[in-house]
């Protein structure tokens, strides 16, 4: 999967100092996450990705859009970006304002990635 642009994007987030964790949920519902901090275990990150998906869906149902969401917490933020093909990226970042521009650039890069949309996972054997 080295040539998978989503995986490459996930790997690239390691270079951004403010990123604590990240994830991508593809249109076929396959979710990949990476954690750079012990308080963000990958199993829980997948649950958070599920919560983000539910939230974005609910907002679209309310005609409030949801292509770019930001969840602001006391000690950090969760940014999400949704591509036109439906894939969603998540970045959990600290509140260091010096990384804001880098986070924005990472999300814009995710939105610009060129990728063939995979088919839904095969069912059965």
């Amino acid at each position: 999967m080295e040539d998978d642009p989503f995986q490459a994007w996930l790997d690239k987030t390691a270079k951004c100092s403010g990123v604590l964790a990240c994830g991508v949920r593809e249109t076929n519902q396959v979710t990949n996450v990476k954690s750079y901090h012990e308080s963000f275990p990958e199993a829980r990150l997948k649950e958070v990705m599920q919560k983000i998906t539910e939230t974005a869906f609910n907002l679209r149902q309310s005609q409030l859009g949801g292509s770019r969401l930001q969840w602001v917490f006391e000690h950090g933020r969760i940014h999400t970006a949704r591509r036109v093909d439906g894939a969603v990226a998540m970045l959990a970042v600290n509140n260091d304002s010096s990384v804001v521009a880098a986070i924005e650039e990472l999300l814009m890069e995710f939105l610009r990635l060129e990728r063939f949309t995979p088919d839904a996972p095969p069912s059965g054997f």
């Binding site: 901090h37 919560k51 309310s62 770019r68 969401l69 930001q70 917490f73 006391e74 010096s98 521009a101």
Partner: protein, 344 residues
């Protein structure tokens, strides 16, 4: 006003009873002293003047006030005391517990409302209630402030339609926010005034603040919905961060402009069933349900990733619209703004 001295230097607490019926205050005082002697020091006052005089010379842990009193009633006294001593717990004791009295007292910071008839027939009920109130941690915004705390304080002042002057002292600058009848009418810090000053004051990372009685400013520089102003200030801070970082790194795209933004809809609620304020919000209850749901989702995410801490707000950004939701257990705010397309 005769304090009864404790018999030993135990962990004492001072209580001030304010009631124009001396028979009642003496009875309550005698009962409390009998119950808690020596830990209670009980002061009594027949009216608001004696009460204020007592508070000038004594540090009191708890005030219990009747409502029906001449000149200034207990609810007015409550409002007055909460302005100067926001962390002082105040119990309202009344023989007329109406929904209006109860709502007003709770909205203005009463820690507890006791039915005088019940207290008179059973003094033991007041003991447990006052004990719990005096033991309760001081509520409110005593001490160092953070951005969120200051915003919450302004929200409460505005929602209560109060008039006050908020004096804020940061590490390198000090300023004021003037709130008149629940509307922010002026802000100033150094040479800045108006919305820019408000944004700068809300962006202070630490300092001290004092809520003082309202004084009319020399001019009014702010005229807008306070919810929108607070949202704008919060977003302005975010954008400022982006701009500063961009300037420090490389010439990039210009920061998003605030020009052309218009508040389209505002909902303030405690819950979906308790809409406190709405403006141009025909779907206020639906927004309330969404806020409740977002708050629960935030709590779940916060539990999954405890390193993030408490949820503060949720933002939706679309090319031509933005929604900001403040998320707190007791107060939730929904603001939707439209953004006019910027010319190329």
């Amino acid at each position: 006003m005769t304090p009864a001295a404790p018999t030993k230097a135990a962990r004492t607490r001072r209580i001030l009873l304010v009631d124009d019926n001396p028979d009642f205050t003496v009875a309550v005082k005698d009962y409390l002293l009998a119950q808690r002697d020596p830990t209670w020091i009980v002061h009594t006052a027949d009216n608001y003047i004696e009460a204020l005089d007592c508070l000038k010379v004594n540090t009191v842990d708890l005030v219990v006030t009747d409502i029906k009193m001449p000149v200034m009633d207990g609810l007015q006294l409550l409002t007055l005391l909460k302005r100067s001593r926001p962390s002082l717990p105040i119990v309202v004791l009344t023989s007329v517990v109406t929904p209006e009295n109860r709502a007003y007292a709770l909205q203005n910071g009463a820690a507890l409302i006791l039915d005088k008839m019940e207290v008179a027939s059973n003094f033991s009920c007041i003991h447990a209630a006052l004990e719990a109130t005096a033991e309760a941690p001081a509520p409110g915004f005593k001490g160092m402030l953070r951005e969120v705390g200051l915003t919450e304080l302004i929200q409460m002042e505005c929602l209560s339609r109060k008039s006050s002057t908020l004096e804020i002292k940061g590490p390198n600058a000090s300023g004021r926010i003037y709130i008149s009848d629940g509307s922010i009418i002026h802000a100033e810090i150094e040479s800045l005034v108006g919305e820019k000053a408000l944004a700068k004051l809300l962006g202070l990372k630490g300092g001290e603040f004092h809520l003082t009685p309202f004084k009319m400013p020399s001019r009014q520089t702010i005229d807008g919905q306070w919810e929108g102003l607070l949202m704008e200030a919060a977003q302005s801070l975010d954008e400022e961060s982006v701009q500063k970082t961009a300037e420090a790194t490389e010439p990039a795209a210009p920061p998003p402009s605030r020009a052309g933004r218009h508040v389209e809809e505002i909902v303030v609620c405690a819950s979906a069933n308790d809409i406190l304020y709405q403006w141009q919000a025909p779907q206020a209850e639906r927004r309330g349900r969404l806020l409740d749901w977002l708050w629960l989702q935030s709590a779940t995410v916060g539990k999954l990733l405890p390193g993030l801490g408490r949820a503060d707000r949720f933002e939706i950004a679309e090319p031509q619209a933005r929604v900001v939701c403040l998320l707190q257990a007791e107060r939730k705010v929904f603001v939707r703004l439209s953004i006019a397309p910027q010319p190329e």
